[in-house]
Symmetry: C2
Subunit: 423 residues, 2 copies
């Protein structure tokens, strides 16, 4: 008998009808001879409503209490889902993160899972139950306080449980059919990806693809748990994310997996930095001490005449204020002329392990952007990704141009192949 972990997001259980629909799908998996563990998010807008309430009561809700509040959402959805399953004549028991053995550190609102001890889940399964587990939450190891895992935490819960229970697959049910070669809202001709490697999925996730979060994919890769991303509204096969294609499927690794974009970042340029050792370190130490996460970094070539240079980096818009404040505060120590802040930027990334062995990918990427009249402001690359920063307004057109250029459009015959090695 196989063990399957299924995760349903808030849009799949938005109301009583949704819960009943999901219950039927779960029972089907059970009838197919599987042991079934289900991770569920809060219903529809519940979390947002709770956040609203908190803000009415306090402008700065405290971490511990905020987590206590938010976890009520999953408690509601998981209990209702268990009832709906029982109503279909099958046994089900719901478990909080704490009861399910999801042990985390003590960082409220964005805790990390440090251990999973699913003894009660195992017992429930052995007794013939379907186990329903609250996503997004755990209990801290030291203080035994309720914690939440932050955005996308339910996916991470599902993968972590799948790993701890040695599941065959972790199915992530959502309101889209899977992972696409680009955001279908931007690129009408985007194609569903049948299979993608963990590595490519990680790059897509960190480049703006929102279907799976980086942390969840990273966890799955570490424990080699295949993820199947699929729609809870259709019965279709979705996207498999795993180290190798699953079963007898002959899916070849595409050269290019997809095009991701991200308009949630801003760019800060530190102008007039003395071009001497230790300056960049001083800047990024300041940023790190302010607990701001940065993405891309570029240092201009120094102008020989002045001995000064500019350093630019990108970061989430939401952390812009914090970074500016920290830099201004340390301006005397660092020594720079001025700061420029630009939140009208966008990032376009091309991801695919195939670019390691296919030369010309970078050139083709830049050509596609150039043909579309898109100006490039920053460039950053990894082994299997190229990213550029452009004006935010240019992003949709740029994504479509690149998607077409690399043969990813759904009416293309085949993905474009490049000969030789290297790029």
């Amino acid at each position: 008998m196989g063990l399957v972990v299924q995760k349903y997001g808030g849009s799949s259980v938005a109301d009583a009808e949704g819960i009943k629909r999901v219950a039927k799908r779960i029972v089907e998996a059970k009838k197919n001879g599987n042991q079934v563990v289900v991770v569920v998010s809060a219903m529809g807008d519940t979390t947002d409503e709770l956040i609203d309430l908190a803000e009415q009561v306090s402008p700065m809700p405290a971490g511990r209490e905020f987590d206590m509040l938010l976890t009520a959402g999953e408690r509601i959805s998981m209990a209702l889902l268990a009832m709906a399953i029982k109503n279909l004549g099958h046994e089900a028991q719901s478990f909080t993160g704490s009861q399910a053995g999801v042990i985390t550190d003590s960082v409220h609102n964005k805790a990390r899972i440090i251990d999973v001890t699913p003894g009660r889940i195992r017992t429930a399964l052995d007794e013939g139950n379907i186990a329903i587990v609250a996503g997004f939450q755990g209990v801290s190891q030291d203080k035994k306080d309720i914690t939440t895992l932050g955005r996308g935490g339910s996916d991470t819960t599902a993968v972590a449980l799948a790993a701890a229970l040695d599941a065959e697959v972790c199915e992530i049910y959502t309101d889209v059919d899977g992972v696409f070669t680009a955001d279908p809202r931007v690129v009408k001709k985007a194609r569903k990806i049948d299979w993608i490697s963990f590595e490519d999925m990680l790059e897509l996730a960190s480049s703006g693809s929102k279907v799976l979060l980086h942390r969840c994919v990273e966890y799955a890769r570490r424990y080699n748990i295949p993820i199947h991303v699929r729609s809870s509204f259709s019965g279709l096969q979705g996207t498999w994310v795993s180290s190798e294609p699953i079963g007898d499927k002959k899916v070849e690794q595409a050269i290019i997996s997809g095009v991701a974009h991200d308009t949630s970042e801003a760019k800060i340029t530190v102008v007039g930095v003395p071009d001497k050792p230790g300056e960049a370190a001083a800047i990024f130490r300041t940023i790190a001490d302010a607990e701001v996460n940065i993405d891309m970094v570029v240092q201009n070539v120094s102008a020989a005449s002045t001995g000064l240079t500019d350093i630019s980096f990108t970061l989430p818009k939401t952390e812009g204020r914090k970074a500016i404040d920290a830099l201004e505060k340390n301006r005397p120590g660092i020594g720079f002329e001025s700061l420029r802040y630009d939140d009208q930027i966008g990032k376009i990334s091309l991801v695919g392990a195939g670019m390691k062995t296919n030369p010309g990918v970078t050139a083709a990427f830049f050509e596609a952007l150039s043909n579309a009249g898109v100006n490039i402001e920053l460039i950053s690359t990894s082994e299997i990704r190229i990213s550029v920063v452009t004006r935010a307004d240019d992003v949709p057109e740029a994504v479509r141009a690149v998607h077409t250029a690399f043969g990813l459009d759904s009416d293309s015959d085949e993905a474009v192949v490049y000969g030789g090695t290297g790029r």
Copy 2:
């Protein structure tokens, strides 16, 4: 430093404004030099909304999952309350029933508290926190499942915590000013009672007074925890419930504490029962096996000509169907002619320890009813209570008549006193 347990009901924390108002009151108690433990119910209609959701998903929600669902309500209110207190500059931590050490049996939806181990609460208090505890919920001793305590469970949580923490007082905040000599919606001249003994309060509670539930008062009496019932909307003194009047208050025990009424019961008459030993036992064994709680029982004098008698008893209307079914099913074994079911009855009860030593109370009670033209159908008495069953329609008039006759009206000079002993 004193330790105070405060309990706030759902109407006191119905919205963000209510939560902030309650937070201020709590902080005041803390500023007055007390250690403060707060037990809170779910906000306003939350519990009813959750029940609605459950019924949409399943016609017969299962006990364990139903409890998991309902406890989300207190989780929300307690977290918000803790945030609101922190926003006023005081430290607060919220605790679920389980975290607070409220250990219960495993009877879901109406569990009983079997132990309270408030170690975490004590620690939180010692660290200077205000402790906020979810009412109405606990964790089962054997299975470690979440349980709920049934109607009025938050009051019981508060009293149980007060007992375990050896509190000076358990303050029950509600939307009325205290316990009244009769229901003010029926008797405009009802008076707030300043002090009432546990015994009289127990009788009032079991006779239809809804301010405090029997179970909560019983718990307080067993551990001798004074209860102060008061309004969360005013700063007024409410009603003290304790073994003796508190402090330097010279409050004498009134002869009559109040008049309670109850229209939630029905009457079943078992007609044509053979008047021989074992018949009544057979009837009430049947009722008990069906887990139906009964209240008053009357057996008519047997008609000598037939050797048959009638037995009547009262029970909650909600259990009428169950009792009828059980009796009909066992009719061959019991042997009776027919059943009569009457749900248009009401019960009026006069409560007061003074009636033990004041003769004439019973007579005056019946005279008042007679003068009001109210017909008595059943009578039952305890040492400190007389109850009668009448037509439901007669209840308001009967309550007012009795209230006036015993000098309880707010414009009376003094309660009526009867000489001699016995009644």
